[in-house]
Symmetry: C4
């Protein structure tokens, strides 16, 4: 073809299109170390719970911390808008689906109360665990100091699409390097995709990066605005930036795959694609301890003009203990996520997550896709 | 393989196979400018309503104009065949599906009345908005002067497949360059696909190009005659021709993606693929103001011998205001199309549509396809 | 990858994965010439009806001939095993699906009667049309002379997989060049796929080639023995062989795409892939005149030990006239197949089939696949 | 793209994505030789029955041996844990699906009894057939000598992912070269995928290799731990290793495709991908003689903490004789597997399996996938 091309279209990959290929060595699962570090914080399991109102309450955060991971409390959700957030969550759960988006749109118009920000941090810290909180870039300068003052251990600055350079008239350019300088706890920023964006954010001194735009089950960004990058490619690109930045500066910034993870297989693939940790939504929303009572919704769902996402019914599949560590009689990969990760590490001979990142991935679209169509046809 | 190849088969892309990748900068949606120009006409929003009888009545055209876009009235449809077109449209809506194609075949055999051509233009102009009308190449010489005389502001010359050179015995070679010369209003021609065809049409002096063969929901050209090019590739090829022509001549011809657009995501992807505007069918057929009363059909449906397409039921999803600007509680991307476009421009850091055309596209087939299969399985 | 590869795997294409791309010129459909030649025989329309018992009876063959095409009578099916074949066909149609394969297995054990071979040819010739008959390579030497003697105009030698060199103990090597020499009517051989095989068969002096292994709706060769090549690739490879052979010898051998064609779109794509004619099964089985009474089955279905294929219900969609020439209110592409071909030729500017072969094909998998899944979900 | 890539992602192929392309010669099926050798053992048909409790009982093994193939008895399943294994198998068959995984988890906690290991071998040998038994690497040193002593003819050492180097604290490094040295019967090892792993295992002196990780119908390894390689690619890679090893040493190690085979087409494709034999599960579980009574489950299903797979209902489709040799009225490829293989060999002109390995494969995703979606939609 001699015809000029308007632009290149690169191939990308999602979880369902790839599979992990075992290598030349196998080891015993018990010999594996799956700990994760973010800045100077260390966690026994490389799992974060998403900063979504249906997933993380103060009490959920305590239980997650005790199990070795960390849950992130959304500082701009129902927990800081209402003293009696549990009542509101119950109301959402009881509302018919047709009215759920409208109810969420209405509930999120109540103002955020600064005293509740501090109170929620205190509640979590009272459980003797690390406390992580999430804010949007627009409100980071206002709420971050309050949370740090109250004892928060990690700050997550999160919006749908985050870059180092936001050009705006309305809030005066949050500069991540200043924020990192100002507060003394690790800062995790996201969500982003892309090698260049990731590298630029790392150069601002942050300790962690949330990877993923558009992949979550509760998110319809791709339908509404057309934006989204499948998680395997998104993670690989950001991991490539981490390696380049590490090579240049000697500093290691943790890359956390956030969104679209539903099974142990997805967890394992995230690490093979280069992740240092995973942030999980739906599987935790399915835990009995989650405040959503078998439901979930994204942070863009309550948008008054352009709601992206909806309240989805996820059901309750087991306890948090079972989701993370089993035992379980479920065989679809949604339970015992860390057991799955250990089993995978044994099968590919990886003693730790850094070694797991070296394993081969293959493009193998069929098997799982079939399974999905089958599940759909079965009404599951 | 040493085996000779009969011909090359190029890869092409449709809306559902690609996604938009954010870049290094984000901006505030309010800062974006989404205006569109066609020739010397300028519109606040880059959206045209398709010249289909179920979508554009004179009254719909007025409302569309008042909202900043432009609707195109079909001069060879029911509105110029019947004084009481509304009655016929009601009849179509009330007919059972099995008899709908036959009824449409019969209704479209009534002759077009020249006085109705002028009358419909007057009706629209009485609303104080720009008036756009559509004719086929076969009838362009006959009706275009009448419409221009009556005050039309834009002429759309449209057939299923349009080229600069039609070899025919029956109507004597419409020469686009002569038509452009003769009438003084902007001429938009289509539909076409392909770099060469687009370039050749531009060289005839036209002001706009409609891109798209076979993609619309109400069209079955691909099943019936095997012809069709997915819209992302079709738009990219024509955008490449526009750039080449601009480079050569300094004149900018607008490329308008026409057909197959159902969501805000599709709108956004059209621009990233290189479009200057979008022509939309189904989403407007779903507006309460549309004369189809929740139905739609294509211009090839009433063909007496080889009907291509059928009357499809699209339902009524909201008002025209809601379709274009929201607010909405629907989260599937079918409402607030311009809000979606603005949100997308913010996320990728594009101040105007010309900048949006520079954004990266990725081939990412899975996420949305899953969603569709799911919706189908759910009977939606 | 430094890993050695056991073998190359080439990409192939089926009808549903490609679409036709219009070019720089359009013409009027009435100006097109769609005639087909095979040897010294010429036909007004490039369409053959498959040599299947549920499709071609002597009376069907007469009607097909009168409409400008040609139907092939199977000389090894029910029509030459039973004087009262119509009774047997009625019995098959009335048998429940579970017992249909067993009944077919039993019916096809009756011996072929030589006098019926001659009688059936006489019946067709009595209709004043060209008569085409099909035999397997194993029985070609025995039945071909009888059919020629009785007045047949074209001999089709057909088996699942045909090559120029069959190594066998049981029947003594049918040599196609000898057969061609011996009988004076055009010989069409198939089915085959592949450039090398096609070239070798052409070198034996045959006049036509049937292309296609495994694609038909009534055939499950691909499930049972894993063999099959999608029709677009199969046709392109054989067309490449035809061009090479034409270049070398100046003799033109017709390439006929046989199997898997269900719509006008498939017909058009066959020619763009390089075919000179199409052989059609299912759409003719759906004609009111077909002896299968709304059913169809393949020639491998009655195999006593390894039945490949099954009796499928295809329904009755219209008359043979409507299938071939319309008019029709059906919009799914299954009616007015020659009208579709003419429309396509007009849209791509092809005056004859040789020009249609020059049109561009694009790989565009989505649109139609969606349609199919949708149809399946709707129970159609 | 100048962006650095974190890792390469290679394309892989499963059974449903490829098809076999006939070549220049065809032969008569009766002339083909489909015998298989493993070490000094020779079998009339190249088919092994999987070492699964629902498939192989001592009595099934005898019948399989008499028909020319070989069935492998699992030495760590119900047959060596319970004297009255038939009772337990009946209990599993009668338990509702919801409780099946839990029951299996419980049944497999009973200890393996060494005297039953010897007894089961004696039972099979009493049938005057070759006896093959399977052990895991962990228990190979303990049970292999007992089985050999009792008269076993072939030892299969099998685990989900097997490599030549397992690094472990719990069982002291089974060294395959020592095992091969120690016992004098052929050793078959698996499962593995990958050129390097296969080559390394061959260098340990084994006689056969089981290829396949994650493809079986009763296995959900891919969902749970993300690991799995489609069988066509897995077989091709191991066949490439076999050729390299043969070239280097002159010794031929048999490659056996194990898992995911459901039809005659899959059997044929395995050989064309390079296999010397196939190990089959589901089709044998569907035989009336199988002890699973129409059910099947994988070896990882009873895992107490991370069950991978579930008891699936496969139904009873015919006798073992019919599955292997027909005759049959089923046309979906699940019956007469060796008849299918012979038919395929005839169509591609392969006199033996070594020649069949030379046949061309094509990437042709559509036809069969459609079929599957259709079957799913039909609830089959």
């Amino acid at each position: 073809m001699a015809v000029p091309q308007f632009k290149e279209i690169r191939r990308s990959y999602g979880f369902d299109e790839v599979a992990i290929v075992p290598g030349r060595v196998t080891i015993n699962p018990e010999q594996t170390d799956m700990s994760m570090s973010i800045g100077d914080l260390k966690f026994d399991i490389p799992v974060m719970a998403s900063a979504m109102d249906a997933i993380v309450s103060p009490s959920f955060a305590i239980q997650m911390g005790k199990k070795g991971g960390i849950a992130v409390l959304n500082l701009e959700g129902l927990w800081t808008r209402y003293q009696d957030a549990e009542d509101k969550l119950a109301e959402v759960a009881e509302t018919p689906l047709e009215q759920a988006t409208a109810l969420l749109q209405s509930l999120y118009t109540a103002p955020i109360q600064e005293e509740l920000v501090a109170q929620r941090v205190h509640e979590i810290k009272a459980g003797n665990v690390k406390c992580a909180v999430a804010v949007t870039p627009q409100r980071a300068k206002r709420f971050a100091p309050i949370a740090v003052e109250a004892g928060a251990d990690m700050l997550v600055v999160q919006s749908t699409v985050t870059t180092a350079k936001h050009i705006s008239k309305s809030y005066h350019g949050l500069v991540f390097s200043e924020l990192v300088e100002q507060i003394k706890i690790p800062v995790v920023v996201g969500n982003c995709v892309g090698y260049d964006v990731a590298l630029e954010l790392m150069e601002n001194g942050i300790q962690g990066l949330l990877v993923g735009i558009g992949p979550g089950a509760a998110c319809t960004s791709r339908e509404v605005v057309g934006i989204g990058v499948p998680q395997v490619t998104a993670t690989m690109d950001c991991a490539a930036a981490r390696e380049e930045y590490l090579h240049r500066t000697g500093r290691y910034v943790s890359v956390i795959t956030d969104g679209g993870i539903r099974t142990g297989g997805d967890v394992c693939k995230s690490f093979v694609a280069g992740a240092d940790g995973v942030m999980i939504g739906t599987p935790f929303a399915q835990a009995a301890e989650a405040p959503g009572r078998g439901h979930n919704w994204g942070m863009a769902t309550p948008d008054p003009a352009l709601p992206r996402g909806t309240r989805i019914s996820v059901g309750i599949k087991g306890t948090l203990q079972e989701v993370l560590f089993g035992p379980s009689s479920r065989t679809d990969g949604t339970m015992n996520l860390t057991g799955a990760l250990r089993a995978c590490m044994g099968m590919v001979g990886a003693f730790n997550l850094r070694e797991l990142q070296q394993t081969e991935l293959i493009y193998a679209p069929d098997i799982k896709a079939e399974g999905k169509i089958y599940q759909i046809a079965q009404g599951r």
